[in-house]
Symmetry: C2
Subunit: 314 residues, 2 copies
């Protein structure tokens, strides 16, 4: 059996001194003017080449500062099969740069379909001529179809040293109309999901040497009190925390996702890092050097999250 995913994540985070993950969500219209594709609409191959150049630069500039990259497949699927090929190419590129790769796929479907999604996105390839390096180390999942939708992924994770992060508390306020259900009762839907995810990841085969499960959770850092309650509710689940930076997560709220030992969470920033060249704070210093802006922003982000973690360890 391969080494446990969370153990690998802890080693990588300690090596970089931070549990920060950069999210690669490339939108064509927001790419630096220097590499944006010509044509309106552009040719597909030109669009793919632009996203490839951008993604490689993000990975090159961030690999020394963070332990992992989260690649959001939606932004690649928008370029159809050529985009999906690039998604897998980016995973391999990030692996070669020494990064762990989280595939942000949010898949969720019933048993037989879940098995195929697991084969597609987390398992070692079942065909002869596809490299395992093209497949992420962990993926995000939607658990709303219950245990049978998640079990095929957990089986792969325990067998191959990989991980999953099941969506428990989304960052988008619009999701409250689902996750705060029922409005009048104390037990909310997101707490129910938290209990289910904790249970799904509780088997001994899921637990690594640091005591964490390969079944983690996506937990947006909302008010500190409710995050602390979630932290207590699912002690063995590693939290993937979205929304730092552009989505408005603050350091204090993110700190509540960590355990007192400074472990238990990895915090994601996407737009605030990869589009840092649109931020005066960075472009004032680096001008048109968009890659330098990305690296400076990544360094700041990594340091922010390192500080948050130190806050917890005091």
């Amino acid at each position: 059996m391969s080494e446990h995913f969370i153990d690998r994540l802890i080693d990588a985070g300690r090596a970089r001194g931070t549990f920060a993950v950069v999210g690669l969500d490339p939108v064509l219209s927001r790419l630096p003017a220097a590499i944006r594709p010509a044509g309106d609409p552009p040719q597909l191959a030109d669009a793919v080449n632009a996203v490839r150049a951008f993604g490689r630069a993000v990975i090159d500039r961030c690999a020394a500062h963070v332990p992992a990259v989260k690649i959001n497949i939606a932004f690649f699927e928008a370029l159809y099969a050529a985009g999906v090929d690039l998604y897998h190419e980016m995973a391999e590129y990030a692996h070669r740069a020494g990064l762990l790769v989280i595939g942000d796929i949010k898949r969720g479907d019933i048993g037989s379909t879940a098995r195929l999604y697991g084969q597609a996105h987390l398992a070692a390839p079942a065909v002869d001529d596809v490299s395992a390096a093209r497949i992420p180390d962990a993926v995000t999942l939607a658990g709303y179809l219950g245990e049978n939708a998640v079990t095929p992924f957990i089986d792969i994770a325990t067998r191959e040293g990989k991980g999953v992060f099941v969506l428990v508390r989304p960052s988008d306020p619009g999701a409250d109309q689902v996750h705060e259900f029922p409005n009048e009762a104390p037990g909310k839907f997101y707490q129910h999901m938290a209990d289910l995810v904790a249970r799904w990841g509780s088997a001994a085969a899921c637990i690594g040497s640091a005591g964490y499960s390969c079944v983690g959770a996506v937990i947006a850092a909302k008010d500190i009190e409710s995050t602390r309650a979630l932290r207590a509710r699912m002690p063995k689940a590693w939290f993937l925390v979205p929304g730092y930076g552009a989505q408005g997560g603050t350091a204090e709220r993110c700190a509540a996702c960590f355990n007192p030992d400074g472990l238990g969470a990895i915090v994601n920033a996407s737009r605030s890092v990869i589009y840092a060249f649109d931020n005066d704070r960075y472009s004032a210093e680096h001008g048109d050097d968009w890659q330098a802006c990305i690296e400076a922003s990544c360094r700041d982000f990594a340091a922010d999250i390192a500080r948050i973690r130190d806050m917890k360890r005091e």
Copy 2:
């Protein structure tokens, strides 16, 4: 604006005399021996070619009997980018055969990501050299991240004459641990989702000339009473009903998904049709002619659903 998706679906269903949809969920190991790829594991291109031959045969044999095909992308993603390319190729092939195409993608993510998924899977291509025929007429969605996750798709649907089916009640019993929440209260999570979906699809721009919304729902036909309650709860939503045949849906339970006028639902069968060559009922008559088995099973399925609809119109 293009013609409303449900109006197109009603026309196509009336032309075939049935509201049955065949689900294309090809698993390599279940393909007919005659076309299964050599090698263990096989080469990727050989696997893709086998699924292509199978998918074309299913479409060729079913196009005269049903108005639509539902293509489950998970089974194509398992062959990586080459499989995704084949998914879009199958959509185009089905369109040329005169079928409506439902992309079974079950995507669900927050606003900015949802916009990209909508561009990927439902909207007219935003690049110059991809044919609109490769994009489905409707897709299945997960609505668990709330309105902002679905709105980008609804905007595309109203603008381009397309449709969405939001998951409200899954067929897998394992999903009950989520959808029957809370256990002790009368108002269940799936009923809450039904109310949300009905609300999301209620705008005048969503309603076609037959009175149905372009925002439909995936509704498994469980007990008749609860299905009738859902039918009353979301009168303008067209139901996509999974699980006929292999998953054990019965005619009476599916009948409760239709309105008294014989409209309001389309029933899906996947495995019972596409793997009919493994069923003695068909192989006894057609022997090794797996394509004839598929066509015979599809004809029976289409007739079953036509009868169900007639039951409702008496």
